[in-house]
């Protein structure tokens, strides 16, 4: 949460990965994440392979590595948390630099770190190469209920507007000397949130009126007809296949 959300999600480009149909890209991403999440933690080599495949995809997508790394900051809280595991975990102990740590706990740290970073990277690559609206179009084609994808589309459309509104209210409060430090000074914040909710809801009603005015009858017209090609599916299946095969091999050998 927080700062991470402020960065641009989408990196404009024309790479093979950018041009892939969103449904193929999402399906491949989802399959890869599941494979990564189920890879046994002891198979360190498998995670190295996963990372290599991801790096190859990042290169093919012409995404600046700095972009991926900066957005990975979102997993930092869990990284910090992961490093506490060996201290609280039980089981057999090993001594590292004179400190007794749980062996299983150390594996736990590695497990959380590797999967959080790799899993987040997959999301970052998908979101970084697919316009927001097309992501939801892709989800819809993957049989996610239309209501969910449409609500998500509208949410992103109005997110910056509403966040800005909240921010402006906050600035206006500060301009009049409001500098709260304690929870019991929070009432003005809540009033502002309440007011912004009312305004948002009323905007929802106006948007609905604007939709009706242009002939909306409850279903959105299908406008984006660029579907994934056979080649797109093949590309997706190749990447996901390598990741899944790695995970499978790791499971068999450990």
């Amino acid at each position: 949460m927080g700062a991470g959300h402020a960065h641009a999600l989408y990196q404009h480009g024309h790479s093979t990965v950018h041009r892939m149909g969103p449904e193929a890209k999402l399906a491949a991403g989802f399959a890869s994440v599941v494979a990564i999440a189920t890879t046994p933690r002891e198979a360190v080599w498998a995670f190295a392979l996963h990372a290599a495949v991801l790096a190859a995809v990042v290169t093919a997508a012409e995404l600046p590595p700095r972009f991926v790394l900066r957005r990975l900051a979102i997993v930092l809280p869990f990284v910090a948390f992961a490093f506490t595991i060996p201290f609280v975990a039980g089981g057999e102990e090993v001594t590292v630099l004179g400190v007794g740590l749980s062996r299983d706990g150390l594996w736990g740290t590695w497990n959380v770190l590797a999967k959080a970073v790799l899993g987040a990277s997959v999301s970052i690559v998908v979101a970084g190469t697919t316009e927001e609206a097309r992501i939801f179009k892709g989800l819809e084609r993957l049989r996610v209920p239309v209501a969910i994808t449409l609500i998500a589309t509208f949410m992103l459309r109005y997110l910056t507007l509403i966040a800005d509104e909240l921010r402006r209210t906050r600035v206006a409060m500060r301009a009049r000397g409001y500098a709260p430090r304690w929870l019991w000074e929070a009432r003005p914040v809540a009033s502002a949130a309440g007011a912004v909710f009312v305004r948002s809801y009323e905007r929802g009603e106006r948007v609905h009126a604007a939709m009706l005015a242009r002939g909306f009858t409850g279903t959105m017209p299908e406008l984006d007809t660029r579907t994934a090609t056979r080649a797109d599916w093949l590309r997706g299946a190749t990447v996901a296949g390598v990741v899944a095969a790695t995970a499978l091999a790791a499971a068999v050998t450990t």
Binding site: E131, E132, A133, T153, F154, R157, Y158, T160, L161, R203, R206, V207, A209, A210, M211, L212, A213, R214, G215, F216, T217, P221, L223, D224
Partner: protein
């Protein structure tokens, strides 16, 4: 006399909280005419506009667009004929890209493929916004948003355009571009505005609305020349603006 494009008679409407926003509202507009709706905040202008395509339904009175009553079963056709441009462009532009937003209305009419693309293209060209077709609406400037909002209704090829405070929040250049676009359009236009010079520039006739009904009407220059009338309804000309002089220049 030309055929009536809009005929509203005796409209009465209350919001769910009981507030009576329209109270015997009458207005007739001839085909091809441009009428300014003036009046203080809360007079009921926006509420009236929402009756023109059946988004609000009056408790009493009737609205007709051409030969159609604004009611089922003709609501879909009425909504095609009446293009409503909302006061806040952000309420009107909800699709991910300008092109999709302009296509939303005609697509709801069932248009697809080349025909749809043609409509979108023509509407964007008409408002001078063809260059922003692939941008996201929320990244546009205020003036661009307003013109794209206009394009979204032009794409439905309406007979009547209703614009709710179209110049609010525009810079002078954006306002100038909007005047030019509107003057180039053949549709019947109902323009709700507080911008009296804008009304004078665009509309031959002006109507003053207050307390949910029409309280005065006449040639725009005459209405704006009646200082007493304006004051009674909280309307003010910009400092130093003389409607008699300005309309002579037209």
């Amino acid at each position: 006399m030309r055929a009536l494009a809009v005929a509203a008679h005796g409209l009465v409407f209350s919001y769910p909280d009981g507030h009576r926003a329209l109270d015997g509202f009458d207005l007739e507009v001839s085909a091809g005419e441009r009428v300014a709706l003036l009046g203080p905040n809360g007079a009921g202008k926006t509420t009236f506009a929402l009756h023109l395509n059946g988004i609000h339904v009056a408790e009493a009175g009737t609205v007709a667009i051409g030969d159609l009553r604004v009611a089922e079963p003709d609501l879909a056709e009425v909504r095609r004929r009446v293009g409503l441009v909302f006061q806040h462009a952000d309420d009107q532009l909800f699709m991910p890209s300008v092109r999709e937003d302009v296509a939303f209305g005609p697509a709801n009419l069932g248009l697809r493929g080349g025909e749809l693309d043609g409509r979108v293209e023509r509407a964007l060209v008409a408002v001078g916004a063809a260059d922003v077709a692939d941008r996201a609406p929320h990244h546009l400037s205020g003036g661009e948003k307003r013109r794209v909002a206009l394009a979204t209704v032009l794409a439905m090829e309406p007979d009547v355009l209703v614009l709710d405070e179209p110049t609010s929040g525009l810079d002078p250049a954006g306002r100038r571009e909007l005047v030019e676009v509107l003057r180039s359009l053949a549709q019947t236009q109902i323009v709700i505005t507080h911008d009296l010079p804008f009304a004078l520039e665009l509309c031959e006739r002006a109507v003053i609305v207050d307390h949910g009904r029409v309280v005065a009407e006449g040639a725009t220059a005459a209405v704006l020349g009646d200082a007493e009338l304006l004051r009674a309804h909280r309307l003010e000309l910009p400092y130093g603006f003389d409607p008699a002089v300005a309309s002579r220049g037209r």
